[in-house]
Symmetry: C2
Subunit: 334 residues, 2 copies
Amino acid sequence: MRRIVIVGDGGWGTAVAIHLARKGLEVGLWSHDAAYAEHLRDQPHEPAVPAGYEIPRAVEISADLRALLPRADAVVSAIPTEFLRDVWTRHGALLPPSIPVVSLTKGVEQGTMRRPSEILHELVPDRPVVVMSGPNIAWEVAKGFPAAIVAAGDDAGAVHAVRTAFSNGKVRVYGNRDAIGVELGGALKNVIALAAGLCDGLGLGHNAKAALLTRGIVEIARLGAALGGERRTFFGLSGIGDLMTTCYSPTSRNRTVGERIGRGERPEDVVASMAQVAEGVKTAAPVRELGHRLGVPLPIVEEVDRVLREGKEPRDVVEALMLRGLKDEAEDLL
Amino acid sequence: MRRIVIVGDGGWGTAVAIHLARKGLEVGLWSHDAAYAEHLRDQPHEPAVPAGYEIPRAVEISADLRALLPRADAVVSAIPTEFLRDVWTRHGALLPPSIPVVSLTKGVEQGTMRRPSEILHELVPDRPVVVMSGPNIAWEVAKGFPAAIVAAGDDAGAVHAVRTAFSNGKVRVYGNRDAIGVELGGALKNVIALAAGLCDGLGLGHNAKAALLTRGIVEIARLGAALGGERRTFFGLSGIGDLMTTCYSPTSRNRTVGERIGRGERPEDVVASMAQVAEGVKTAAPVRELGHRLGVPLPIVEEVDRVLREGKEPRDVVEALMLRGLKDEAEDLL
């Protein structure tokens, strides 16, 4: 692969563009907003660039996908879940035939509960979709800190090509055949990150938080398996790895929401104060419902949803989780 | 169970004594040092009490095991690995017959690479041994913060009795049949904690650290399986759970050693400056050797040992780990 076009100018898309350009690839970066694209071109080291990244001059930044796409060997879809359907409905026809589409979106579609790769298969069919996910704080990758990512998809050739294109001495890309599991890990972890934030806000300490994360990933894995993923995937980089990064990094949006609620703010006030709704807030209720429908017990997700929508006290959540009957860990560890 | 005697007055043993006494059990706490036992009795809230815990007056503190043991329904062995054989060689004969022995020791015996429960089976035979391990910072349990622990052993009745005795609304005890896996997780994680410390000391960020922990537990699980444990156990509370607590809590001794080396201090100087050698420093070399002998690849352990004993630069370790050939995650995820 020589030319890769990143569709989406958010933090992660921009970081990946910088990483690939630094590797010497020809990189295009699409913004839906012409004015912002121009701004990025003119002032790549301004604070307005997400998180202060510096975008190499070689990156071709444009709001015109027609100009960027023609010679692309692969496209990276880095669109937030809520805009994904709209962007690819409008622009899908521009994609060159049969090139791999790399999906970086972490989430599930509201209402349909569809995974981003399912939406891509629907809107840009006949292209291999490669899902990439892992413990990746965007600005660290943009700054050239070491990181590991997982690439997964049905087309082994496309996965291999993408891994080779993305890997260097800083970024190590692992393969995984279980695209469903890899994708669901990134989407479902956000509810657990909210719970971890509650734990931080209540000042419950490291023991409770580690127990919560460890039991949380078991819960996610249980649901993920019922949705067609493999349990073991959730114990890898795109599962527990991503969950750790999200829950121990002070800047994660979902963890922060939980922390503020744990400290005593009302959920509706926290949500109202944020420019962008944290993914976990949107997914807690539908994930809980999904668990009910599939008969999968999700005690942590249930309690988070009760705090968010039913006014349950965060402190009572911990008690509810600790006082359940004693059980064997092995039953649901994979 | 009504009466439980804790053998060992270190941080974890004392915390467990406080927890059990708070639950209303009759608790004995043995110190090998009569003067220290007296001190603990007289000034249970002095800073000299480990980490400033307050020991309830009801706890019977003594250096005389003969006085403490007779009516005990269970004994908790909370002795550091290096003194375990000596203590039970000298005092094993005092143990009432057939009562459960709960082992809290995390480590493996130098030279023999034996697990603490194996040493107990050898020195106090014919008693069921229940291994307890998990993400447990001692002072948090002493202060009554919530925590989860795993109890494992061959005697299901003894495991059940111990779980019931230890559980309340704060401490939740999970069962697990795989005593070998539970015990090895606590011993082997210390080498990975050293690597996580290197990561912190080098300032490599959250992405690298989460990747290291996720891949580290895969490595531990691989070795643990070769030693008779079940892989999945290492992805539970006593594996990845304990590893997270150790690696994200600023006070962990092993993590701190790694951090100081990562910042540029020489390994021998760091070790010389510490009152007690960090467990991971002692186990890195024998664990590496064990991997060689059993044909189990342990890339992270190897690199840690190279830093500790061969003067390898911490920064080169990361490069060595990142530049290995691309591989599939699934191959060794469970």
